[in-house]
Symmetry: C2
Subunit: 193 residues, 2 copies
């Protein structure tokens, strides 16, 4: 193998699929190595533990999510549309990136420090984006809020509410309607009358 980084990437992609199907706990190093057609111990040349692989996988998905959210925001110009795109894409992607999702919600993973770090980091970044969106909208006179920071936090709280598994236990159509309702709520409480 000429390029070590390249092989790490391959491990991440392969492990990602297995993790997303069986979860962290039920995925064994043996499966990962078999999927890669390598000896189990060989994996340890690239990663020092199963945890470290999972960490890389989750980070990978987090990066994907970030990238897609960024483009979603850039696609449109007006702050309300940016916000709408952000929320929409965030919801759709969250459902797809199952490892990241599990990392954030699986109570059995609570004690892993790196999970906490990723959770915290994502929270911080998201808040920054929302704050900026609100702030810009406010400056342009489209929004009308007292404090960008706290408004952003309020929106984030609402987004977190959409993350909990119960929210998804509904039909697809219903989900879209609920999304529209949520957006409408945010906007009507935010838009200048």
């Amino acid at each position: 193998m000429v390029n070590k980084e390249e092989y790490r990437r391959r491990i991440i992609l392969t492990a990602s699929k297995i993790f997303s199907h069986y979860g962290f706990r039920k995925t064994t190093m043996d499966e990962i190595s078999r999927a890669l057609k390598k000896g189990k111990s060989s994996i340890y040349y690239y990663f020092s533990s199963k945890e470290e692989i999972f960490e890389a996988v989750v980070l990978h998905e987090a990066n994907q999510l970030r990238a897609r959210l960024t483009t979603a925001i850039k696609e449109v110009d007006s702050p309300p549309e940016k916000l709408r795109n952000y929320i929409y894409v965030r919801m759709k992607e969250f459902a797809k990136l199952s490892n990241y999702y599990n990392a954030v919600f699986d109570k059995n993973l609570d004690h892993y420090e790196f999970i906490e770090k990723i959770r915290a980091r994502y929270d911080r970044e998201e808040l920054a984006i929302l704050r900026l969106l609100v702030y810009v909208g406010n400056n342009r006179g489209v929004f009308d809020v007292e404090d960008s920071e706290y408004t952003a936090m309020a929106i984030q709280t609402m987004l977190k509410g959409m993350e909990v598994p119960l929210f998804w236990r509904k039909r697809e159509v219903d989900i879209n309607q609920r999304l529209e309702a949520i957006l409408s709520l945010i906007f009507n409480g935010i838009l200048r009358k």
Copy 2:
């Protein structure tokens, strides 16, 4: 619990979902009991082993499959249409009943005796149905075959070919086209010219 049978059924339904997601091996008695909100040892009051639960689950799915195939055949009258319905429904249902599917194809389950029994029984029953279909069609003068038994076996062989995982690694549309092609092949080799 007034009715022991009723509770067994509930265990089967719950275990079925977990088995279908994680497979026989990765599903633990602990999970099953947790999903049922019962103590692990309580399950052993209803089933004497994990294997026995899986056996019941697979049998349950096999019965479902049989029931649907039966109605599918009864829905139409002419032998060619019966055959067409049979094959069509069999394909669609097979994809859904994942425990049954795994029981039939997972090489890791090869050494379980009850799996062998279920496989053998299903084979026998299917052959009987096909034989009858061919026989009746022949009698009515719609089909034209020498030996119903061997023709039925030939058709069954073809159906088995559609079961192997590779067959499904295609897009839905493609699947339908292939199905049509298979049907057309069977009929054109079978129908009186």
